[in-house]
Amino acid sequence: MAEQGLTNEQVLENITAKFGEAIFDAHEPYGLLTITTTRDQIIPLLTHLYNDATLKMNFLTSLCGIHYPENKDQELGVIYHVHSLVHNVRLRIKIFFPIEDPVVPTATNLYATANWMERETFDFYGVQFEGHPNLIRILNVEDMTYHPMRKEYPLEDGTREDKVDVFFGR
């Protein structure tokens, strides 16, 4: 088994030393270090992870959106999974922001792979990635007027009466 070159504590220590208060809510669900940061700090943080000689977290595994309608002013979120292939350690970074102002700086300058991932997140959640070279819909049709993965769009027609919601999932 390839061992982990760095422990989660070392990673957390390294980034809190640099970013301090901007890193909060650190925990390890199922062994994967998860932190939350702010919109302003996300790109400096990703750049630091990318360039830092000890961390070498320069592989963006995935980027996806999430929607929590109940969290006031923190409704939308973007979740980044970065991976250090050298040390075999992963890090999950979350940012949350209000749904009325869904603007996030783009990561495409750092990662070419963020291009389509951000387009997908824009397509599904309406997150505006500032500075993205080509922020248009990718999987849905271009003339769609809404962002379908948001929770206000139920999967089935809400007026249907032949299916009682409690029997079928959420």
Partner: protein, 418 residues
């Protein structure tokens, strides 16, 4: 691994997947006319429905803009309303050339969330089907590459072997293409004597066919001249583009999830991770061929050392009881009902699990709020991620090379669009 500089990537990452506002200077000066060519959406050489708008200068490609989403089925949205057991059929339909890997990856994600530990026998059976799936996947990719470069025979040879692999799937799960295989905690039924017999027969016959396939291609002058140096990818760019799987390994980075984060007892097996050097079409072809041999080794070892014991975890609240017990046993009836109705109690939490799919790291990011369905499920689909490098790979090459690059990348429409 090479060092990276941020400044260079900033320059190269800007706007590669859109029609350029202005063309390179030499085209305006000489007033040469460019042709716009629609490659797809239903071109036979795309092996799936996706479009590329190519700007051509004669036979040379000046820019390429992929359009995807033709078979988008909103799996992530659908999954938010489905109990865990009903999500496996969705994963089948992502990379349909190796659906068992997708199924098992999904089960392992759920098991990680629920804290179910699978017994060794279940792990080994899973390894056998996953490696069979990888072989089937790579066989298709490599033989189709032959078809696209004009050699049809190899494809017909190895399709016979894929058929045998599908018969083994059929013996295990009852289905062939969209297998919907496995359960939480193990596999739905033990390997039957017929399945083992078919497996042994296949093991006996496969190397001969594979050697024949290799002798037809790997040192074939026409084929090698045709694909060598076509669509190269450096390791730095491949990592920046998020390549995983054979395409990344062809570029020379030995990242394999099976080795780096072993799951399902992969640490028990002895196998090698082949790597290429230049990341061109020939390297991708060779890496896949070698991976077939390594997968074959794993299957042999797994079947040889198949442990005795139960084929599923002792987790009655998640694993469907045998049908006979449901009629006679009160508890079994209750569990049967609860599982079928999707009343599985899941903890609140979030889990990321990845497996080495046919095309690379297939990841599942599952956020559970304690309900019976996922609150959010994101699939990290390797095809979707590496296909965006296609414009960069084809620009400057010829149209016929673009076709070969496309088939050697093994872009599966189902996985691309999810």
């Amino acid at each position: 691994m090479a060092e990276f500089t941020t400044e260079e990537t900033v320059k190269t990452n800007q706007g590669l997947d859109r029609i350029p506002d202005s063309l390179p200077a030499q085209y305006n000066e000489n007033e040469r006319e460019l042709t716009t060519l629609n490659l797809g959406p239903t071109h036979p050489a795309t092996h799936g429905i996706f479009q590329n708008i190519l700007q051509m200068d004669g036979e040379k490609i000046v820019s390429g803009v992929p359009t995807i989403g033709y078979i988008h089925r909103a799996f992530e949205k659908i999954a938010e309303r489905r109990p865990f057991y009903q999500i496996t059929p969705l994963t089948d339909r992502m990379n349909y050339c190796s659906s068992p890997i997708n199924n098992m990856g999904w089960w392992m994600t759920v098991e990680k969330l629920l804290g179910v530990k699978t017994p060794k026998r279940a792990d080994y059976i899973r390894v056998i089907v996953m490696e069979l799936a990888r072989i089937a996947d790579h066989l298709i990719c490599n033989s189709i590459l032959g078809v696209d470069s004009g050699a049809f025979t190899g494809f017909l040879y190895v399709f016979q072997e894929r058929e045998k692999i599908y018969e083994i799937y059929e013996e295990i799960s009852g289905a062939r293409l969209t297998t919907n295989m496995g359960r939480i905690g193990g596999i739905e039924r033990d390997l039957s004597p017929v399945a083992i017999h078919k497996l042994r027969e296949w093991i006996a016959g496969f190397p001969k066919v594979m050697k024949e396939f290799e002798s037809m291609f790997t040192r074939n002058r026409i084929f090698v001249d045709r694909i060598k140096g076509v669509g190269p990818m450096t390791a730095e760019r491949a990592l920046n583009y998020g390549f995983t799987g054979p395409n990344l390994r062809a570029a020379g980075v030995d990242y394999d999830v099976r080795v780096m984060n072993p799951y399902s007892s992969y640490q028990d097996f002895d196998f090698e991770v082949p790597v290429g050097t230049t990341g061109d079409t020939y390297d991708r072809f060779m890496v896949r061929n070698e991976e077939i041999w390594q997968s074959f080794r794993i299957i042999q070892q797994a079947l040889e050392n198949l442990p005795e014991g139960p084929f599923h975890a002792d987790a009655p609240e998640y694993f469907l009881p045998p049908k006979q017990a449901v009629y006679k046993n009160m508890e079994a009836l209750i569990y049967h009902f609860k599982i079928i109705m999707g009343e599985i109690e899941a903890p609140v939490g979030e889990v990321y699990h990845s497996v080495e799919g046919g095309n690379g790291e297939l990841g599942f990011y599952l956020v559970s709020d304690g309900g019976r369905t996922p609150y959010r499920l994101h699939f990290r689909r390797p095809c979707f991620i590496y296909y965006q490098a296609y414009p960069e790979m084809v620009v400057g090459s010829q149209l016929s090379d673009a076709i070969l690059i496309l088939s050697s990348m093994n872009v599966i429409a189902g996985e691309l669009d999810a």
